[in-house]
């Protein structure tokens, strides 16, 4: 439901703060643990949640999310099981928006019209498909419209003013501004450099703007939260999964404490002295 995203942003606007949006990979490191993490995210401070569905060849991901996808696939994760996990989450939480993020090919296999219906039924509110630019997205945009799921587009540092209207056309919910030219989890986002772009995208779209790619620490999240409507952190969280697995530690606890720290930084960002 697009309304779930709109209501959440309206509520946060009333509170005068940015949203914290953790990204987790479905089925990472295993399906039971991933579901336990997903269910606990709102209480740990997640305002919206991005759920990645694994793909074997994620061309825009850096090593952390590549490895997360590999762990999930090794554990037998599928797109079907991803929707089942979201349905299980939705049964207990009617308010926290869920945005699915991934690549085109698994959707082609499923069939986009059927997938849009099935995703909506599971409780998915928006979708970000990394390798589906506006030039190729019309069939998915039509299917998502019919199922009341938001198509959320990526704008990037290479999206100039001439192209921006093309990118935000048919976008709803929010726009995801990719803060660095590069893959996920490698370069660091610079709040001062990002701010004018956030404003540019906000003006062109009339929608809230989330910023992601390159935000790893509470300090960085706080800085971005002062200029953006939402802060997305992904690679730093899946790295917690990887380290906990390597060290044989409690994966859920480790991820959630990182989420708590990041969420707190975002929540307090606009109260703290700049």
């Amino acid at each position: 439901m697009r309304a779930r995203i709109e209501q959440r942003f309206a509520k946060l606007k009333g509170e005068g703060r940015a949203a914290f949006v953790p990204y987790v990979m479905a089925g990472d490191p295993d399906q039971a643990t991933a579901l336990a993490i997903l269910k606990a995210l709102p209480a740990a401070g997640a305002d919206l949640i991005e759920v990645g569905f694994p793909f074997s060849d994620p061309m825009a991901e850096g090593p952390p999310i590549q490895r997360a996808a590999q762990r999930a696939l090794k554990g037998g994760m599928t797109l079907k099981a991803t929707l089942e996990a979201i349905a299980a989450f939705r049964a207990a939480d009617q308010d926290t928006p869920i945005v699915l993020m991934g690549y085109t090919n698994p959707l082609v296999t499923w069939g986009v019209e059927a997938f849009a219906r099935d995703a909506a039924a599971a409780g998915v509110d928006g979708m970000i498909i990394v390798d589906l630019p506006p030039e190729e997205a019309e069939p998915l945009a039509d299917a998502l419209d019919a199922s009341d799921v938001a198509l959320i587009r990526l704008a990037t540092p290479t999206t100039d003013d001439r192209r921006l209207p093309v990118v935000v056309r048919r976008t709803s919910g929010f726009v995801y501004y990719v803060s660095v030219a590069g893959v996920t989890g490698v370069k660091e986002a610079d709040a001062a450099a990002v701010a004018p772009h956030v404003e540019r995208v906000r003006r062109a779209s009339g929608l809230p703007v989330a910023v992601g790619f390159g935000i790893r620490t509470p300090e960085r999240a706080s800085a971005i939260a002062r200029v953006a409507d939402a802060v997305v952190v992904g690679s730093a969280l899946v790295d917690e999964v990887a380290e906990a697995v390597d060290l044989n530690e409690d994966v859920t606890g480790r991820v959630l404490s990182k989420v708590e720290a990041l969420a707190k930084a975002v929540r307090l960002a606009r109260q703290a002295p700049i």
Binding site: P54, F55, S56, D57, P58, M59, A60, E61, G62, P63, Q66, L73, T78, L79, K80, Y103, T104, N105, P106, L107, V108, T109, W110, G111, V112, E113, V130, D131, L132, P133, E135, E136, A137, P139, L140, R153, L154, A155, T156, P157, T158, T159, D160, R163, V167, V178, A181, G182, V183, V186, K187
Partner: protein, 411 residues
């Protein structure tokens, strides 16, 4: 973006009118890339559109093709191979005699001139067997541009001589360990590099696949093969051939041979995919014969994939064919019924490698040996009055260690 479910068998009036304005060959092709790359892909499309009709660009390319690459390559009547099979007269298009030893240089020379025209100062490429990597390193050396070649760690191991050649030419070879550590993973890493270095970097793709405009552009640069064959076969035989045959991985040598014959419906177009350990084993690299349509590396095409849409690893003795996809124009030519795609196993290709070496004194690349493995069947089908042309896309020196290992010999 739904996969084509029923092949469109409607034949177009003009096969050469593709891709359309959206970079599509029927349902296949397109531009499935992250937003960061889209402006670059549009810039490239515009630059290529201008260059391909610019006489100055084409003249410069033609000069290098003649004096640096060594074109035209000969069309050679393989009399002993013909006699051996007792069917159609078999001609070999000698692309292995090009500078760097394969057809890959045709495309690299074209793209490096385009990259410089666009003001790019750094070149990246992916490579499987190393032939494209060597050709890219070669043109980068010639024009003084820094070059990074991504190569699967498995391929680095099985193609050591080519890695060393690239180093000698001044290129940096970066082994890729992600995924299956072969060509598809090298392509993923090259795309990740491009997305990270958008301002100065030109991605020199080696095959007629990937996002538009690459399938069209690489085809056009490689079509010099088919254009020469037309002239040469008419000079030798007074008519067009009955069939033209090439191996297909991504499919650049095959589309370069096929394209100038697309509208000559009397000329059969036959591609040969790598069947690895055998189609029934599931360990192969035959995207058309063993895959189904999907989206990878920027285009909709036939892919090896599981039922959940995860890409499966390809398997072939030939690093150059070890790719789970195929260029979108081949996917379309298959669906409309204009071209036929056969397969050859590792074992058949090794036999063909040795057969051509002994009968004609030519060591073929193990990739090209896949086409040779089917040439006997094709020559017999066409019959003694017929003419077939096989694209000998590369030389086999790079494969001697692989062949020796399979023969149980140490060298």
């Amino acid at each position: 973006m739904n996969a084509p479910t029923s092949p469109d068998r409607g034949r177009p009036n003009d096969y050469t009118a593709y891709p359309d304005a959206h970079g599509r060959f029927g349902e296949f092709g397109g531009q499935y890339v992250p937003e960061t790359l889209m402006p670059l892909v549009h810039d490239l499309t515009a630059a290529w559109g201008a260059a391909k009709v610019d006489p100055a660009f084409l003249g410069e390319l033609s000069g290098y093709m003649t004096h640096y690459v060594g074109r035209p390559s000969p069309l050679y009547f393989a009399s002993r191979l013909t006699e051996h099979f007792g069917g159609a007269r078999i001609y070999l298009k000698r692309e292995e005699l090009n500078h760097t030893g394969s057809h890959k240089i045709n495309n690299c020379m074209g793209q490096i001139l385009l990259a410089m025209r666009m003001g790019k100062t750094r070149i990246i490429a992916e490579t499987g067997a190393g032939q494209h990597g060597v050709a890219t390193a070669t043109v980068c050396a010639r024009f003084g541009l820094p070059c990074v070649v991504y190569m699967g760690a498995v391929d680095v191991e099985r193609q050591k001589p080519n890695v060393f050649r690239m180093n000698l030419l001044g290129a940096e070879v970066r082994p890729v360990t992600s995924g299956s550590a072969t060509l598809k993973d090298a392509m993923n890493e090259a795309l990740r590099d491009w997305v990270t270095n958008v301002h100065d970097t030109y991605y020199l793709i080696g095959t007629a696949a990937g996002m538009h405009p690459y399938p069209e552009m690489v085809r056009d640069f490689q079509s010099v093969i088919g254009r020469e064959v037309r002239e040469q076969i008419v000079a030798a035989e007074g008519r067009l051939p009955d069939a033209v045959v090439a191996c297909v991985g991504g499919g650049s040598n095959a589309i370069g041979l096929f394209h100038p014959f697309l509208n000559d419906e009397g000329v059969k177009l036959i591609g040969v995919e790598a069947a690895g350990s055998g189609m029934e084993s599931g360990r192969h690299a035959a995207a058309i014969n063993g895959g189904r349509p999907g989206v990878l590396h920027g285009n909709m095409t036939y892919l090896l994939q599981d039922r959940d849409g995860q890409i499966e690893e390809a398997h072939s003795i030939s690093a150059g064919l070890d790719y789970p996809g195929i260029g979108p124009e081949h996917a379309w030519l298959h669906d409309v019924g204009r071209a036929t795609y056969l397969t050859a196993t590792d074992a058949e290709s090794l036999d063909a490698y040795m057969l051509l070496s002994k009968l004609e004194g030519i060591l073929p690349a193990i990739e090209s040996a896949h086409a040779i493995a089917r040439i006997g069947d094709i020559a017999r089908d066409v019959g003694q009055d017929g003419i077939v042309v096989l694209n000998l896309s590369g030389r086999g020196d790079k494969d001697v260690a692989t062949v020796a290992a399979h023969l149980g010999r140490t060298i």
